[in-house]
Amino acid sequence: MAPTRFRSPAQHSLVPFGAVAAVILSGATLLGRPMASTALPWAASIAMLALACAGAAMVLHRGPTGLGAPVRWRRAYLASAGALFVLSTLATTRGIPRTLSLTNPLADHVGLSAVNAVTVTHTPTLGPMQNLGACASTSLVFAGVVALSLLVSSRRAVPVSSGSMGAVVGASAGLAAAAALQLSCATHIAHALAAHGLPMLFATVLCTFLGRRALAP
């Protein structure tokens, strides 16, 4: 019988963290939106990105017992991910950009929802829930890429409570997507909660069920 090929931790982590990096870069470049000019959105984005990476590390690290992180740690992570997202959203609703200029068609379809006195080059003033679906779908795509990479990298590796670990996968992916959109998507609270928060919630729930299938041996 051929010896088992163990993946090294570095190999194990390459794809998921690469996916997170790709999502962040996409958020910074493809959307074609000006980045936030104040410190608070940057701090919120970095905090969400850091917590997303911590969640990914929790999923990938099997621990000394090989059974994965304790279930109470997973629950604590889910609670903190939700809390951080809400706090970041509330904190960054200030400093809404007063003018926006769009540089590419993709940006036209990503949530443009500043509340007052928004001036854009070729789109009329938009309300806070405008293009909600487009922004939410972008968020879902970003979260899906990260979630899929985590599920594949950790397949059959979580023998204990694989559903809760799946929830961590979804929350981590959702946070990464929210971090990617935080800097360039308008920061009205209603839009952020609906277009960034609902996809995160959906990813968490969906990955709970997918985790039972994919992560359990």
């Binding site: 088992t4 090989g66 023998p159 041996p217």
Partner: protein, 193 residues
């Protein structure tokens, strides 16, 4: 397990010989069906083989295999394949013997109970919530430590203690065990003023 992962096929045979009986007994007590327990044991070791690249070398094999076995049982239960009928576990009507220590059930003591009491215990255990039954079986019948049970089930040590305590209380209530002082029971001497 380390030798098996390195490609030693005989190591798997030895691993199976050591762990399969323990896994089978636990699955038997959870599922109450000999045929299903044997089938689930086979499925467990098939999954152990498939997931061997995720095993952390040097970690406790038994906890890892038991966690997989537990998942296999839960999957079977959710698919409603667990038989509801009771089954006599041995020809003599007692729990099968296994290596025991001070923490495990005294099989001889169980055998000394009346048939009615033995059946009452089995019915009570069967009627327990799944988490309490699992804790009772793993702690008191299989002799695992609290920490091991907590690792396998994904619960905290405190939660396992609570589950086991509730299971004991249910058994006590079913058997109507009440400690009453008798003439032979030593009591504190009365102090005269």
């Amino acid at each position: 397990m380390d030798a098996y992962c390195k490609g030693d096929r005989q190591a798997f045979d030895e691993l199976f010989a050591r762990l399969a009986p323990k896994v089978n007994v636990v699955l038997l007590r959870l599922s109450r069906s000999r045929e299903l327990a044997e089938e689930l044991t086979q499925v467990t070791f098939l999954k152990v083989h498939r997931a061997r690249d995720t095993y952390v070398p040097g970690s406790k094999v038994f906890s890892w295999v038991m966690a997989i076995a537990r998942n296999v049982y839960i999957d079977a239960y959710r698919k409603n394949r667990v038989l509801r009928r009771h089954e006599t576990l041995t020809d003599e009507g007692v729990l099968p013997e296994r290596g025991r220590d001070a923490q495990t059930v005294d099989v001889n003591a169980f055998a000394q109970l009346s048939d009615e009491e033995q059946q009452l215990i089995r019915d009570t255990i069967d009627a327990l919530p799944a988490t309490q039954r699992e804790a009772l079986i793993l702690l008191k019948v299989e002799g695992l430590s609290l920490k091991q049970v907590a690792e396998i089930t994904g619960a905290s040590v405190a939660a396992v203690k609570v589950r086991a305590f509730r299971a004991y209380e249910a058994l006590r209530a079913a058997l109507g065990v009440v400690r009453r002082p008798t003439a032979d029971t030593p009591t504190a001497p009365k102090r005269t003023p």
